[in-house]
């Protein structure tokens, strides 16, 4: 039984069957990649996991509990953090403040009224945030206005914001899109390192096969809302159905 169990999930948008009978099991402490052509329903699947969308039918169990019917912040508090396909950060805040917010959420829960205490008296949380920034090589940018950073930096910041929460399950939606090659390799190294050091399960959506084959232990191929195959990277590489799905898209 995996830490994440998706059973018979269906989701329609009007006439479009975005997800059709999706079954997915992600084992604890593994990295599971979900690949597939554009419009296959990969982001929609993630949206169903974090409470952004509610599936029409089916069940989603995380850590033995259903996530359906819970709000996004409750699901995050259960231990799921997500990086979005387009970076979602607090653009009006500095990099350091961006990092402190998930730290507060982790320590104090979904609401706490510290109206008088100073942010800068929270030395414990600051240390945590700085350490994480160090790990993603962004410590020198900590006082920067986050909206003014490059897209790649925004992604790294968003990933750092998720990682600092020490989630049980990390969901990554194309985390290296828009990154320079060097940053992509750094990201791969970072994720490998994080996986060795902590007990973390990763589900990653990625078009960059270099990233997928560097990280994933299992791969699910999604096409037109339905999983085609699920297997190890070695077996996926030469799989005829996979080639068909990708070529079918190109044709």
């Amino acid at each position: 039984m995996g830490i994440l169990e998706v059973k018979d999930v269906n989701k329609r948008f009007g006439g479009l069957q975005a997800l059709g009978n999706v079954n997915l099991s992600v084992a604890e402490n593994t990295c599971h990649a979900i690949i597939g052509p554009n419009g296959a329903g990969k982001s929609t699947l993630l949206n169903c996991l974090v409470g952004k969308l509610i599936p029409d039918t089916g069940s989603v169990m995380f850590d033995g509990q259903s996530v359906l019917g819970r709000t996004p912040f409750e699901i995050n508090q259960m231990g799921i953090s997500r990086v979005f396909q387009t970076p979602e950060i607090f653009g009006d805040l500095t990099v350091m403040e961006n990092m402190l917010i998930p730290c507060f959420a982790k320590r104090d829960g979904s609401f706490a009224l510290h109206g008088i205490r100073s942010v800068f008296s929270e030395s414990g949380l600051r240390d945590q945030a700085e350490q994480m920034l160090e790990e993603v090589n962004m410590l020198d940018k900590r006082n920067m206005h986050s909206a003014s950073m490059s897209r790649g930096d925004k992604r790294r910041l968003e990933m750092a914001m998720c990682l600092v929460q020490n989630p049980k399950l990390l969901l990554l939606d194309e985390p290296t899109a828009g990154m320079a090659r060097a940053d992509t390799n750094n990201t791969i190294d970072l994720l490998k390192e994080i996986k060795e050091k902590r007990n973390i399960t990763i589900a990653i959506i990625e078009h960059d096969m270099h990233v997928v084959f560097s990280l994933a232990e299992r791969i699910t191929v999604l096409a037109q809302g339905t999983p085609l195959v699920e297997d190890t990277p070695e077996n996926i590489k030469g799989h005829p159905k996979v080639k068909e799905a990708y070529l079918g898209e190109a044709a």
Binding site: F73, F90, D92, F104, F111
Partner: protein
Amino acid sequence: MFGLDKKDASLLLIVAVLVAFAPFFLNPFPEGSGWAQFNAGYPDLMQRFVIFGIFAIGFNILFGLTGYLSFGHAAFLGVGSYAAVWMFKLLSMNVIPAIALAVITAGAFALIIGYVSLRRSGIYFSILTLAFAQMSFALAYSVLTPITGGETGLQLALDDPRIFGGAATEGNIPVPGFFGLEMRDSAQLVLGNWVFTFNVGYYFAAIIMLLSFYLSIRIFRSPFGMMLRAVKSNQQRLNYTGLNPRPYTLAAFVISGMYAGLAGGLMASMDPLAGAERMFWTASGEVVLMTILGGVGTLIGPVLGAGMIKYMENIISKINSDILHSWFAFLPDGLEDLVVTLIYPFIGKGWHLTLGIVFMLVVIFLPGGLVQGGQKLAGLFGRKKAQEPKNATTEPAE
């Protein structure tokens, strides 16, 4: 100092000094001179400066930090005034219980109105608050006349059943006070042609304003303040980071409602009456203008905006055509009439027109409000600027 960093502490100190010496600053022109009508150092107006300053400081905690634009905050100010007057009628003429009840009642109202209105955001939130405020106005104006005094407003009467000090006031309606200090008491200092007035009510309200200002700085710099800015910046990210935006915005709404109640209670303490017009939608709009004019989301901006609007309301509206004629008497007759005719629509009752023009100019050329204007001026004179990044942690500080 007081848990503030250096920059904030010096800002607080500057404001404290300005407020303490306001009776001097605001009366720069000698009595009897033609300029004396521009003097603002009389108790009634100075009280308004600080009381509306409090109102705007509180409003800025909601609007400036979370970006939720309430069009109904005057309702809380009105509720605070009514609560305070009832306290004077029933308990005692001491302002402390009156102000305490004003804050609590306004907070309770804000909790209810905020709980409902915050189910929507953006324009729908604004309209909901506006609807609630107009409902409150209508209730106060007619339906709840026994409680609010309806059209005439709520006033003290000789036969008020006051628990403390009810008997001691035969024949005279008592005045609000602070343990023996009457709010309307004033001392005057005459220096040559200058007359400076030091009013108890003003200094009482000023001290409360400084405390409110201090509290608002602390809120701005707290984790709570940071969450409120995060609400404004990206609610989606906040949700997926495990934080529930709703209670944060509701807390900000209630806090700003309590500030409004405090302002209302102080108004009633200076002059113990309360009327429904304090809840009218134009009064709600005024605090929005104050905040935007001064600088949304800045610490001192709302106070500046409140001061500017109240100054224009009281000073420009007092200029009449006779005064204009005396100013331009040096011009040839025909030209004098022409100039006076041109300016006349902008003075007296037309002060709103002047305000409108000033507001437009500020919004177009200084979107950051008067504070941005101040920063630009400071930049022109080449102060610092080069060694900025040292403490570039937060938004513009002053």
